[in-house]
């Protein structure tokens, strides 16, 4: 009986918190704009075969370097023009959205999971476990992220999967540090002591009691890492170490377009614009999330 009452109020509280959060988030116009653009991006990625008028890898040999439809010499079949081997740029960008979102999701998942486990263990147990874990994280952080990712890809071999693993390894310390700091703060609170006295074991205390109260900074960091992952994966692709041609990954497209920059502006402009818009939308969302989730900023 009492159990049921508690569960009901739990759900209510959760709904209330969500409504609160949405209220704060909605006040930030940039964040809402970011959310809309991001939603469109997700839809485009999911329905890419329906949105794209052409195959992303099909080469139209009679339509090489056709300019966008509005400039002189443009053809209505190719909205944003074609690249040097006659592939439709718009279709490639549409399919490229899949790569970017997939990369962002996978990188954040790996980095978040690894970082949370390491941070929880370090913060909860403290002592030498903490020292060793955080020292290793310090070492990873001593390398510039892109450089370390590059070297990791050199070891693992170029390609999309390895690029994602490398970027996730590089991002992990940020999550570990954040989790550790939050856990150390929460560990001393009364509710944790109460749960311990009630007989909760270490694992339960860590995962069920403490972790849910440390999530806010992690969510914000996850959004920021999502956008950085999209950027870094594109950078690796640009340097020839990420997704390999003919994959329509935006960074890889830019790398292929480099030699035409002074002849065909469109092959360079649009893939970069796609990267910028996606990253900007995610960052706008991240700003909104931070403002809505950070109680310190809320009061001011």
């Amino acid at each position: 009986m009492t159990d049921a009452t508690v569960k009901l109020s739990d759900a209510q509280i959760r709904r209330r918190m969500l409504a609160d959060f949405w209220y704060d988030f909605r006040r930030n116009k940039g964040a809402v704009a970011g959310l809309i653009v991001f939603a469109i991006l997700v839809l485009v990625a999911i329905f890419a075969p329906l949105v794209a008028p052409h195959s992303p890898t099909l080469q139209y040999r009679d339509a090489l370097l056709v300019p966008p439809v509005w400039s002189e010499g443009g053809q209505s079949a190719y909205l944003l023009g074609t690249d040097a081997v006659g592939r439709d740029i718009f279709s490639r960008l549409v399919f490229g959205a899949r790569y970017s979102l997939f990369i962002g999701v996978v990188v954040v998942m790996i980095a978040l999971t690894g970082g949370i486990i390491l941070g929880l263990v370090a913060g909860y147990f403290g002592g030498w476990v903490d020292t060793i874990i955080m020292r290793v994280m310090d070492i990873v952080l001593a390398f510039p992220s892109l450089l370390l990712a590059l070297v990791l890809v050199a070891i693992l071999g170029p390609g999309l999967t390895n690029a994602m693993i490398a970027i996730a390894i590089v991002y992990q310390p940020h999550f570990a540090r954040l989790t550790r700091a939050a856990v150390m703060g929460e560990k001393q609170r009364e509710y944790v002591t109460a749960a311990r006295l009630a007989g909760a074991g270490n694992l339960r205390l860590m995962v069920r009691t403490i972790l849910p109260n440390c999530l806010a900074p992690l969510i914000v960091q996850a959004t920021l890492s999502f956008s950085s992952a999209v950027l870094d994966a594109a950078a690796l692709g640009f340097l020839g170490m990420g997704a390999q041609p003919p994959a329509p990954e935006w960074g890889t497209m830019l790398a292929e377009a480099r030699e035409f920059i002074l002849r065909a502006w469109w092959v360079v402009t649009f893939p970069g614009l796609a990267i910028l818009i996606s990253v900007l939308a995610i960052n706008l969302m991240g700003d909104g999330l931070r403002d809505a989730l950070d109680p310190k900023l809320k009061r001011s």
Partner: protein, 335 residues
Amino acid sequence: MLRFILSKLLYLIPTFLGITMIAFGFVRVLPGDPVLLMAGERGITPERHAELSHQLGFDRPIWEQYLDFLGRLLQGDLGNSLVTKKPVLTEFLALFPATIELGLVAIVIATMVGIPVGVIAAIKRGSWFDQVSMTAALVGFSMPIFWWGLLLIILFSGILQWTPVSGRISLLYYFPQVTGFMLIDSLLSGQKGAFLSALSHLILPSVVLATIPLAVIARQTRSAMLEVMGEDYVRTARAKGLPSSRVVGVHALRNAMIPVVTTIGLQIGVLMAGAILTETIFSWPGIGKWMIDSISRRDYPVVQSGLLLIAGVVMLVNLAVDLTYGLINPRIRHK
């Protein structure tokens, strides 16, 4: 203060050892046999292979090899490049000034523009200046700088033809390297037009490299200023009747600078990563391009030692930032 410096230095030792382990382990975990790699495509007889392995110490226990690596490192021996056969340290020292020059100019641009923009945006909170500059900062922060660089090349080198596409200075000029910094050396040479040529080569890459740090610094300065402006001591200063410029410039700005200095320091790692991309786009002969070229040429001694050197530099810069932090904020020092 001395104790503060010493404790920071001691703290660095295990991190540095960890970095050497990663750099050392890097070559070991690579697929393939390093001796075969050195032998090149012609192959090698089994006897010669065993001899070389022994010579290079690959037949000894791994920890012995690591200690040997550390020992040579302490003597300043970082191995030789497989491609040029020159010592890695010599190559690094020859190219490093180019990256420092680029990085310094970039950080100067980022600071000189970012801090004033952040301060003005904070003082005139909600104004059009605030909104435009913060939107621009967010765009800058989200910028894929390798694309930004290409766009600037299209505009300034392609359409307007104001700046050269690549390199550090026009081939028309030749003078001895004194400091390694092209801007200073070109002035010292006294050749007409040399300085302008160096400057025109430097301007686009440094603007590209400065973009993200500039955005970060402007945003950080703005939020730090907003926080400080609400503090009691700022209100007290105003209540005392001090002119607004003094309140902002002395009371608020000095305290707001504490987090900003940390931010600037943290940008050094960002700058190194950015240098890899910027130097590749503009064919700038610095450390970033050297690393990329070495990775694609599979010149592993260079990658190994380059990684070590770059991480070492970043670590030292972070130490310097920590110390500066202690200087401007006594509370940290006495903790």
